[in-house]
């Protein structure tokens, strides 16, 4: 993923057709959506769409403004990759014959993933984590033979403030 990658967190009304409206604004400009995750929020009237796109900042600014014009879009925040906590979930079915099964289980443990299903010659592994961590496990599993792989697309929230909050100055206007 290049340096032009942007994460948009879009709060929308939980209604039919809203995702198509949002996706359409990217499609008409020829921008490919890299990943997309949608789910209802704690308030059932709203859903949150997390979109990762590869676009230069200037055209993205225009897309964001156009997104905000959609009647069903309530709020948009752009998360800078450095200032966001990003997580993704992967399910991966890998060939696991008796000779390699032990190695695979070991790798999954190193990555703090879980084996969620076991067949005679295959294992299904679940891993939640940062997208790069998922990439790494995917690479390591590849030589064993990946049978199927499904990633959810990332979700993200802004990183929390780490600096202690400054005491507000008491001089000046008191209101």
């Amino acid at each position: 993923m290049s340096t032009t990658h942007h994460i948009l967190s879009v709060l929308v009304e939980n209604k039919a057709g809203v995702l198509a409206r949002v996706a359409g604004l990217f499609a008409r400009r020829g921008y490919n959506i890299y990943s997309l995750a949608v789910a209802p929020t704690d308030d059932e009237r709203f859903s949150r769409i997390t979109i990762v796109v590869d676009v230069e900042s200037r055209p993205l600014e225009q897309v964001v403004k156009q997104l905000f014009k959609l009647i069903n879009v309530v709020k948009i925040s752009e998360l800078a990759p450095d200032e966001a906590v990003e997580r993704e979930l992967m399910l991966l079915t890998v060939k696991a014959e008796p000779t390699t099964r032990g190695q695979i289980i070991e790798l999954v443990q190193v990555f703090e993933g879980r084996i969620v299903d076991v067949g005679h010659e295959q294992l299904t592994v679940m891993l939640a984590g940062s997208p790069t961590k998922l990439d790494d496990l995917e690479e390591l599993m590849r030589p064993y033979g990946i049978v199927e792989l499904q990633r959810t697309g990332r979700v993200a929230l802004p990183k929390l403030e780490r600096q202690a909050p400054r005491l507000r100055s008491v001089s000046g206007k008191v209101s």
Partner: protein
Amino acid sequence: MEMNGGQALIKALETEGVEVMFGLPGGAILPVYDPIIDSTIRHILVRHEQGAGHMAEGYAHATGRPGVAMVTSGPAATNIVTPLCDAYMDSIPIVVITGQVGTAAIGTDAFQECDTVGITRSVTKHNELVMNAEDIPRAVREAFHIATTGRPGPVLLDIPKDIVDPKNPRSAMEWYWPTDAEIEAGLPGYKPTTRGHAKMIREAANLILESRRPVIYAGGGILKARAAEALRELAELTGIHVVTTLMARGAFPDSHPLCLGMPGMHGNFTAVTSMQKADLLIALGSRFDDRVTGKVATFAPDAKIIHVDIDPAELGKVRRPDVPIVGDCRLVIEELVRAVRDLGGGDAQPDRSAWKSQVSGWQEKYPLTYQQSEAGEALKPQFVLEHLRDSTPEDTIVVSGVGQHQMWTSQYWRFDHPYTFVNSGGLGTMGFAVPAAIGAKVGMPDRTVWAVDGDGCFQMTAQELVTAASERIPIKVAILNNAYLGMVRQWQEMFYEERYSEVYLSPDLPDYVKWAEAMGCVGLRVESPEEVQSAIDKANGIDDRPVVIDFRTDSNEKVFPMVPAGASNDEIVVDPSQSQTEVHVVQ
């Protein structure tokens, strides 16, 4: 009150204050047409659904009130896509209602089914597939609210047959009418900003008072915001010249000494060049359209930009403003006038007399001009327009199609009142004039409405003259018939080495006079300059049916000035009779 969805839909339109709607019935929308018989709303039966959409637009252009069109599903819905897109590009408030197959049949490729909300999603400000009868009053109120507030635009409601059909239990509902507060609560993502930021307005006032070569770049937003008076106050307070874009013609009177007329690809030399040489552009409800800016990189290179628009997405879309202000044009201009007054008003400005004399020098040197035809030569379209302009009331509403005739109309008419020029700017929809003129006349029945059309445009929507004749809507149509797709011909002559590919239409096929008569109109033909005046007078005297005049004009005539597509506005080409010298600006 118990009623069915169809009755509720019509009652909702009545409650919204709709007086007239344009439409054509069909299978899926049939149940909604039944209660129209008992309604106070005047329904105008069109001959093609595209006509209904453009009529609604013309009505909205002329009156400022939302236009309403209603058509059936499938092909009717696809036929009205062009007017929706046209209204979207030019920010025209219209509400379009389309029939849809019953909810159970949606998605089954039923007869006359299409994915209307999917097809129209990108050409409407908002659209909704209404799935339950009890949602109808809410959906109608929301549609009018969205269409008419913020940046106006088209809204479409897609209405499945079962929720309006009295024979279907799904259509039963209890009437209600939502309050403003309920509508706003139901639209948590829609809160247009109307008040400009006070600090930005002060900054704008400061820039205005410091500037030496300012120009007000007034766009269609002035008309949408009903801000013509505020604009005049600002211009007169500061003595700053105003250019009015194609969508803003009439927003500032052409006869005003500060008016420079239309800028852009076919704008006049002074309007184009004053913007190029300005040190400050005050963009009010304009959007830096490519037809205005020419090559963006060389557009008004020395100008700082104040950009006022109700749509935040316009600010910085094409050109980064130095002072961006999101807000309603009228409210912002009024605040701006106050801020300029607080800072000392017009007297606090630098001496701009050198700039002003330069501007008037350009006006003297490069007026709009054309070669008058010699005896026996073909009629000049500009000559026709000058006579038409001088023989009609000052507040005549002029409606044009798209192409050469549109540019000549904008150039040669004198627009001294807002809402007197109706045309298709952003989308450039050929065939707009006849139906839009009908809509304008329906909305403003006491005003004279002239459509100025091209022969190519006229052939696209002329059938609506049947609507006009049968509904007794006496519009007048001047066809500037040059037997060609004239603007395309002009480009082929200038940029394609005179290789005229597929642009010839013939002057007399069809016979426009016979065609007009067949449609219940009076048809007149004018072939020489001497006949122009009497034909216009005759047309102006007819008020019981539409009139069509076939003006046979010179095929070779081109629109000048012209900035070639993609070129810089500095490369403006004036009329061949005017010698062009390089422009140096006084600092």
